[in-house]
């Protein structure tokens, strides 16, 4: 029986209702006569504490509250890709059709178009036995994505007693009927799943394949693996959003879930405007055909912001269960944490650090724990992954604040954005001394097999130059560069070249925005080669001034945007050219010595 109660108290997004003894935790409820959507987040006697996903302006004590008997769930089936949803899976385009340019309240919507017809090809036949998670058939969701219709993960083992033929159907069509001990169950082309409950899987693997993002500092220096976790904390304007956009654009995953959580409306619009025109370099199709957006901007109701993270990750897990690699980016997890804090504050819970609730850490852990590379339930055998990357917005860019410090405990790749680098327009402003990747060893095998065995060594050699520069910088700050011997000045010079030529990458340059693994490797090799050549030249008596004046340097620095991925062999020519210039320098020295 569904609970029926009455509002007794309203304060912003928090509402208390009495007469709610039969309601369950996390059940969704309809609040007030306008039937605003809410969720039960605490129970005490017959009082339910409810967070309301829409503006509560005008709500008053005495208005009715009704339980729905259902936990907050998402609808999973064809039609989700390409959509932009709010935090509780309401399509923003449908809301716009019903309430105009500004988001109204109490707008009833359906997550996907129930009338759209898809061509269904069955994967099971009468007599087959299936379990939860089994593939029942396929539809072309977008030209980029063949969608597997799955039995819900909690579906009991059963025999197919009826199966739909190959044909076009609406997604409400029953495509299979199973029987178990006389119980018959009908399976449609979609099912629902509660967002706060991780979708189960058969087995978990260690991540070992890198997620290639085309961003040099990520792929080469601080890689993230498919199924891994990463965080990108940084003060405002340091490049969190741009980096997440870059990952969403260029990562070699099958599906991208982009959660805009408490951030700008225009940034979501930017994705909506850009992605349909951007072409996936691997498939040649528009990126929107693999992207789902969940948008709860900073001015949208704060409770729905809390839910948006779960809505997004449940969608990601669903595509993972089809056997796809999925990337989920969340911008920004700090705003989600603030939503938690706000609800917790309204409920007068005992705060921990900076007013955040004491369960902040466990909520963060649960979220990142939903990343992973897994074998899916049911047949046929398939494995997929969810990679999670979260932006963190520390107040005052101070990494010791609670959201940052807790997040660090649960992620393996850390891209630390640095305000000073941003001020000097070094983008992406990822600090190479503070950042780290826990997947380095795991992914080196992939590089060896797919790009070049030199990767690991070249990465280490070039990184070593950066590390030395970092120590020398201190001396320079105190004594000036002239105090250093030439060999050390050379380190500074090459470090500068690596910073400009490799670490800095302009997202808004047509060429530089994406750099293939092959090009990355060759660029790094050029720099290391340049360093070695210069060391030798110095030993042979060539002056540093002459080395600094070599014309090849500008070419090395501009190769990132002057040489496209297709012309990557030009970098080999450049290497030849560099070697020639060095041998000429050497010859001049010999001449001098003779004279």
């Amino acid at each position: 029986m569904e609970a029926k109660g009455k509002i007794v108290w309203v304060s912003g997004p928090a509402v208390k209702a009495d007469g709610m003894s039969s309601v369950k935790m996390y059940e969704t409820v309809e609040v007030g006569s306008t039937k605003l959507i809410g969720e039960v987040i605490r129970l005490a006697g017959d009082i339910a504490f409810i967070q309301v996903y829409e503006s509560t302006s005008g709500l008053r004590p005495g208005e009715p509250v009704r339980g729905t008997g259902q936990p907050l769930s998402v609808l999973l089936g064809p039609g989700v890709i390409g959509k932009i949803y709010d935090g509780i899976q309401r399509p923003l385009d449908e809301i716009a059709q019903k309430s105009g340019s500004f988001i109204g309240r109490g707008v009833a919507t359906t997550p996907v178009d129930m009338k759209k017809k898809y061509k269904f090809s069955p994967a099971v036949k009468v007599g087959d036995e299936i379990v939860g998670g089994s593939v029942l058939g396929f539809v072309e969701e977008t030209p980029l994505l063949t969608h597997s219709i799955l039995a819900p993960p909690d579906h009991p083992r059963g025999k197919i007693i009826d199966a739909a033929k190959e044909n076009t159907y609406e997604i409400g069509q029953v495509v299979a009927t199973t029987e178990n001990n006389g119980n018959r169950l009908e399976l449609k082309m979609f099912h629902k799943w509660p967002v706060r409950k991780p979708r189960p899987y058969a087995e978990r693997f260690d991540p070992s394949v890198p997620l290639i993002t085309g961003q040099r500092i990520i792929d080469t220096y601080f890689p993230i693996a498919k199924g891994g976790t990463g965080a990108i904390p940084g003060g405002f304007g340091t490049g969190k959003t741009v980096t997440l956009h870059q990952i969403a654009k260029w990562a070699d995953s099958k599906v991208v879930v982009y959660i805009g959580c408490g951030e700008r409306g225009n940034e979501m619009t930017e994705v909506l405007v850009e992605f349909p025109h951007l072409i996936d370099p691997r498939s040649g199709r528009p990126l929107m055909e693999r992207t789902v957006l969940v948008a709860n901007t900073s001015n949208m109701p704060v409770a729905a912001r809390e839910a948006s993270i779960y809505t997004g990750v449940t969608i990601a897990e669903y595509y993972r269960d089809m056997g796809f690699d999925v990337v989920l980016v969340a911008d920004s997890t700090s705003r989600w944490a603030e939503a938690l804090r706000e609800m917790s504050g309204r409920l007068e819970e005992m705060p921990a650090e900076e007013g955040y609730p004491s369960y902040l850490a466990s909520r963060l852990a649960e979220f990142y724990e939903r990343a992973g590379r897994v074998r899916a339930l049911g047949s046929p055998e398939r494995s997929g992954s969810v990679t999670i990357v979260g932006a963190v917005s520390p107040s005052g860019a101070d990494f010791t604040e609670p959201v940052t410090t807790h997040t660090i405990r649960f992620i393996k790749t850390f891209w630390a954005l640095d305000t000073r680098l941003a001020y000097s327009r070094h983008y992406p402003s990822i600090n190479w001394m503070q950042s780290y990747s826990g997947y380095l060893e795991d992914v080196s095998k992939w590089w060896k097999q797919n790009v070049n065995a030199e990767w690991y060594g070249l990465r280490a050699e070039s990184y070593n130059i950066l590390q030395r520069e970092d120590t020398l910088k201190e001396i320079v700050r105190l004594l000036g560069p002239e105090a250093l011997p030439d060999e050390e000045k050379l380190v500074l010079e090459v470090a500068r070249m690596i910073k400009i030529g490799i670490l800095q990458q302009n997202s808004f340059d047509k060429v530089d925005t994406y750099c293939s693994p092959q090009k990355q490797l060759k660029q790094v090799r050029l720099m290391v080669q340049f360093y070695k050549n210069s060391q030798k030249a110095l030993r042979d008596g060539v002056s540093l001034v002459d080395i600094r004046a070599m014309p090849i340097i500008t070419s090395l620095l501009k190769a990132k945007f002057e040489v496209t991925d297709e012309e990557v062999s030009k970098l080999d020519t450049m290497e030849q050219e560099m070697n020639d210039q060095f041998s000429k320098l050497g010859q001049r020295e010999e001449v001098k010595v003779l004279v």
């Binding site: 304060s11 004590p61 225009n266 405007v273 948008a295 001015n299 603030e338 001020y423 000036g480």
Partner: protein, 463 residues
Amino acid sequence: MSETAAGIEYTKVAEIKGPLMIIDGITRASFDELVEIETPNKERRLGRVLEVGFGKAVVQVFEGTTGLAITGTKAKFLGKTMQLPVSQELLGRVFDGLGRPNDGLPVPVADKFLDVSGEPMNPERREYPTSFIQTGVSVIDGMLTLVRGQKLPIFSGSGMPHNILAAQIARQAAVVGTKEDFAVVFAAIGVQYSDAQYFKRSLEESGALRRSVLFLNLADDPAIERIITPRVALTVAEYLAFELGMHVLAILTDMTNYAEALREISAAREEVPGRKGYPGYLYTDLANNYERAGRVKGKNGSVTQVPILSMPADDITHPIPDLTGYITEGQIVLGRDLFRKGIYPPVNVLMSLSRLMKDGVGEGKTREDHMEVGNQLYDAYSRAQEVRALAEIVGKAGLTGVDLKYLDAGDMFEDHFLRQGNDENRTLEETLGRAWEVLSTLPEGELTKIKDKNLRQHYKGSK
């Protein structure tokens, strides 16, 4: 809110604390409802319901609670949220911080009544901002481009010329190639009379007052009213933009006073504070104001916001500038050093940013080399600053030849590019010309952010 028993008067004031009044024995009141309060000596004030339970409501009183008493104070729940009458007649008028006429003229005839809190713009219906606004200020046009529909605040400090700069922008702002003038919505939030007056005069002299609407909450006006001032101003801005199709420039000064009013209410409610005593929802609350900027698909107008805030103790990590920077599309930061050096506008470019510049400039919009030039100027000035710091320690003798060039470029940047008159209106061509003159003092090989093709066309220096 159809069912409220509007009009019932309540007299059971249970408690008055700070800006809040707690009323008992209420049968019907709703969250966010507008309340009219009558003091014992028949003065009327406005308030708003912050929290409501059975029989009890917490009301925030905009004009403050001074003079209210437990007995003799009456409260009337008006059965609606706070709404503002709007119409074209608002143009050229001056109002107080709650939107009531302040210029001796009658209340304008309303075309509509709009809820001052507004509703969130649907991101799916936003039009992405891309039209370059020429402000005539080199540092903004060249490196921190403003586009129509952007929200770009000025972070300032006490005594610095943020008002002069904002007024200059308001006078000079133009979208190149169009004849459409900006309408200006100006909200003074707890600023001094002379500051508000300066603005008004500046709009008057340029003839822009006719297309302006002013909302004034001055330093000696009630502090809690400041919660509403930006909201009424932005409600009018949205109306002019999206109902009347105008391009609106909204200037809100000083948002620090706004945040302080918010803190006062939060403290009175005994809420668990976030940083520095500001409420945990400060971010969301600020965002509800700042996000009211932009463009809407299928509509002509736009709201461009230039909020101004003073950084307490010039500290950019203070919660107010910090959270603002997280929400707005960049920031123009004024620097104390440059100000002391007598440079106007004293924009600390390295700390400043326009996130939408990339979308408003380039081939077909301004000039092909615009973005690259801007990036290279940043790079050069940042190097120059490093070299300056180094020269302080090791002296010029310890510097290499290239470093010395950067020193010169830095000086030239400040004197030739950044510095300009507060009524000097430079064209974009002139701004970019000056930029190239600065860059041409550096060896060509240093200009690593510029494509060879653009270098060949514009670089005037030597190798």
